[in-house]
C-alpha cells in the first residue's frame, strides 16, 4: 500500500470518529425537536478534557492509568486492519480478523481491570455486566466473520470485506444480509448504544460501560472517550463494508461510498436511539443470542 494511502487512512482514523458521535447526537436532537449541540462539539469536549489535570485515587495502581492508553491504542491498531475507502487496509495478512477480535477483547480486559482496580462496588458491577454481555457478543462477531470467511475463502479482513458487485455481492446477498444484521446488533452492543445501554445516563442501575469509567478524569477520560469514538468508527466500518456493493477499485468512488455509508450508519443509530427504548437487562441476553443465531445461520448457508 503506497505511503499517501496509509497517511490518508490514519488521518481519517484519528480525526473522523468524534464527528460520527456528533452526527448521532445531532440526529437525536432533531428527532426531539431541539437544535442540539453543534456537530463539532465532541472535538471541543475532547480538547477541554485534554487540557485538564488528573485526579488519581491513592488506592488505585498503574492499571488505572494504563487502561485508557491501552483502550485507545488497541482501537487505533484495530482501525489499521479494517479497510476504509481503499481496497485494502494498511495492515492485511492471513488471520488478521482473529487479531481484530482479540484487540477488542484486550481493550475490554484492561477497562474491566481498571474498573475493578478502583475498588468501588459500583464499578465492579459495571465490569461484571460488561463481561457478561461481551461473552455473548463475541461469539456473534466470530460467527459473522466465519460466514464471511467461508463465503470468500480468505482469512484476511481486507479480502473478506470486499463484497463488491463483481465479487459475488449478488449471489451471496442472503448470507451478507444475515451477517449484516448480526454484526449491526454486535456493533450496537459493543458501543453501548440503545437498546443495550444508554450512553447518556448516569443512573447506576442501568449503566454498563459508563459505570466502569466514572473514576477517570481529565486526559484519561478524554482518551477513553476518543477510544470509544474510534471503536464506534472502526466497528461501523466493518458493518458497512459487509453490504456495501460499491467496487473499491477506484479511490474516489470507494471513499465517497464509504463516507456516505458511515454517515448513513450514524443517522440510523440516531433514529434507533430516538425511536427505541432501552431493553431490560434480561432481554439484552436474548437479543445477543438472536444475533448469534443469525450469524450461525449465515454460516450454515455458506456451507450448503
Amino acid at each position: 500500500m503506497p505511503v499517501h494511502q496509509v497517511v490518508l487512512h490514519l488521518l481519517c482514523l484519528l480525526t473522523l470518529p468524534p464527528l460520527l458521535v456528533g452526527i448521532i447526537v445531532k440526529v437525536k436532537a432533531l428527532f426531539a425537536g431541539r437544535v442540539g449541540a453543534p456537530l463539532l462539539q465532541p472535538y471541543l469536549d475532547l480538547f477541554r478534557l485534554y487540557r485538564k489535570g488528573t485526579v488519581l485515587s491513592r488506592t488505585s495502581t498503574w492499571l488505572f492509568v494504563a487502561s485508557p492508553v491501552v483502550a485507545i491504542v488497541t482501537m487505533l491498531l484495530a482501525g489499521l486492519l479494517v479497510p476504509f475507502g481503499y481496497p485494502s487496509a494498511p495492515l492485511a495478512f492471513t488471520g488478521d480478523l482473529v487479531l481484530f477480535a482479540y484487540l477488542l477483547g484486550l481493550a475490554r480486559f484492561f477497562t474491566l481491570l481498571a474498573a475493578l482496580d478502583t475498588g468501588s462496588a459500583f464499578e465492579g458491577m459495571g465490569a461484571a455486566r460488561e463481561a457478561t454481555w461481551a461473552s455473548l457478543a463475541e461469539p456473534a462477531l466470530f460467527l459473522g466473520l466465519l460466514a464471511l470467511v467461508r463465503r470468500s475463502g480468505s482469512m484476511s479482513l481486507s479480502t473478506v470485506l470486499d463484497v463488491s458487485l463483481d465479487r459475488g455481492w449478488g449471489e451471496s446477498s442472503a448470507v451478507l444480509l444475515l451477517v449484516f444484521v448480526s454484526l449491526f446488533v454486535v456493533f450496537l452492543a459493543e458501543n453501548c448504544r440503545i437498546p443495550f445501554d444508554d450512553p447518556n445516563t448516569h443512573l447506576e442501575l442501568t449503566m454498563i460501560h459508563e459505570a466502569m469509567v466514572l473514576d477517570h478524569s481529565g486526559p484519561a477520560l478524554g482518551l477513553i472517550l476518543q477510544g470509544a469514538a474510534t471503536k464506534l468508527f472502526v466497528l461501523g466500518a466493518l458493518v458497512v463494508h459487509t453490504i456495501l456493493p460499491m467496487s473499491r477499485g477506484s479511490s474516489v468512488v470507494g471513499w465517497a461510498s464509504f463516507l456516505g455509508a458511515m454517515i448513513g450508519l450514524a443517522v440510523a443509530v440516531g433514529v434507533i436511539e430516538s425511536t427505541m427504548a432501552r431493553v431490560r437487562m434480561k432481554r439484552v441476553a436474548s437479543l445477543l443470542i438472536a444475533a448469534c443465531v443469525l450469524a450461525g445461520f449465515g454460516v450454515i448457508l455458506t456451507a450448503r
Binding site: G170, E171, S173, A174, L177, L178, V181, R283, A285, S286, L287, I289, A290, V293, L294, G296, F297, I300, L301, R304
Partner: protein, 214 residues
C-alpha cells in the same frame, strides 16, 4: 432473480426469528403482516416471468396478509383490552433457539429431498419448512388465544411458500381459495377471541382446560 428471491426469503426467516423473540402482541402482529407482504413479493418474483396469475396471487396475498388480516387482529386486540405481554409456556430464548435449530435442520433436510432441478439449491423449500415449524412453535407454546391465531397465520405463510414451488402444476384458483379460507378462518378466530375476552376477561387458553360442566 434467484438472488433477489433468496434475499426476500432471508427476510422471511428473520421475521420468523423476530416473531419467536418478541415480547409484545402488537409487534407480533406487525411482524406477521410484514412477513405476508414479503411473501407476496416472493410470489411475484419466484416464477421467472410475470404472468397475470402470479400477479393476482401476489396482490391478493399482500392485501390479505399484509393489510386486512393484521387490521382485523389489531382491532380484536384493541377491543379485548388485554395486557400486551405474550407470556409463553416456553420462554423467548429457548423458543428462539428451537426455531434456529429447526431452521438449520430444515436446510439440511431440504438438501436430501428429490426436488425439481429449478428449486435445487434455492431457499424456497427450507424457508417454507422453517416457517411452518415457527408457526407450530407459536401455536403450541404461546398462552394467549390471539398469539395462537398469529401462529396459525405464520404456519399458513410457510404452506404458501411451499405452494409457490407448485404454481405450474396447481391451478391458481386453489391458491386463491386457500387465501379466502385463511381470511374466513382469521375472521372466525377474531370473533372467538372477542367472545373469550368478553366472557372471561382473559385470553389465557390454559385456563380453558378448567371449563367443565359440573
Amino acid at each position: 432473480m434467484t438472488a433477489l428471491v433468496d434475499s426476500l426469503l432471508i427476510l422471511v426467516l428473520l421475521l420468523n426469528f423476530f416473531s419467536l423473540g418478541t415480547t409484545r402482541v402488537k409487534a407480533l402482529i406487525n411482524g406477521s403482516a410484514a412477513q405476508g407482504v414479503v411473501i407476496g413479493f416472493v410470489a411475484l418474483f419466484s416464477q421467472g416471468e410475470l404472468t397475470v396469475e402470479t400477479a393476482v396471487v401476489a396482490v391478493s396475498a399482500v392485501t390479505l396478509k399484509g393489510i386486512v388480516i393484521p387490521r382485523l387482529l389489531l382491532r380484536a386486540l384493541r377491543d379485548v383490552r388485554i395486557r400486551q405481554n405474550i407470556e409463553p409456556f416456553i420462554d423467548y430464548v429457548p423458543s428462539l433457539l428451537m426455531g434456529a435449530v429447526g431452521s438449520g435442520l430444515a436446510i439440511l433436510f431440504a438438501n436430501t429431498l428429490p426436488l425439481a432441478p429449478e428449486h435445487e439449491g434455492a431457499l424456497l423449500v427450507p424457508t417454507s419448512l422453517s416457517t411452518v415449524l415457527t408457526g407450530f412453535l407459536l401455536l403450541t407454546t404461546r398462552r394467549k388465544a390471539i398469539s395462537q391465531v398469529i401462529g396459525y397465520l405464520v404456519l399458513e405463510n410457510g404452506v404458501f411458500i411451499l405452494g409457490l414451488t407448485l404454481v405450474g402444476a396447481m391451478p391458481f384458483l386453489v391458491e386463491l381459495g386457500v387465501l379466502l379460507d385463511l381470511l374466513v378462518g382469521i375472521f372466525v378466530m377474531g370473533i372467538m377471541v372477542n367472545h373469550i375476552g368478553r366472557e372471561f376477561s382473559s385470553l389465557d387458553t390454559s385456563r380453558l382446560a378448567q371449563l367443565k360442566e359440573e
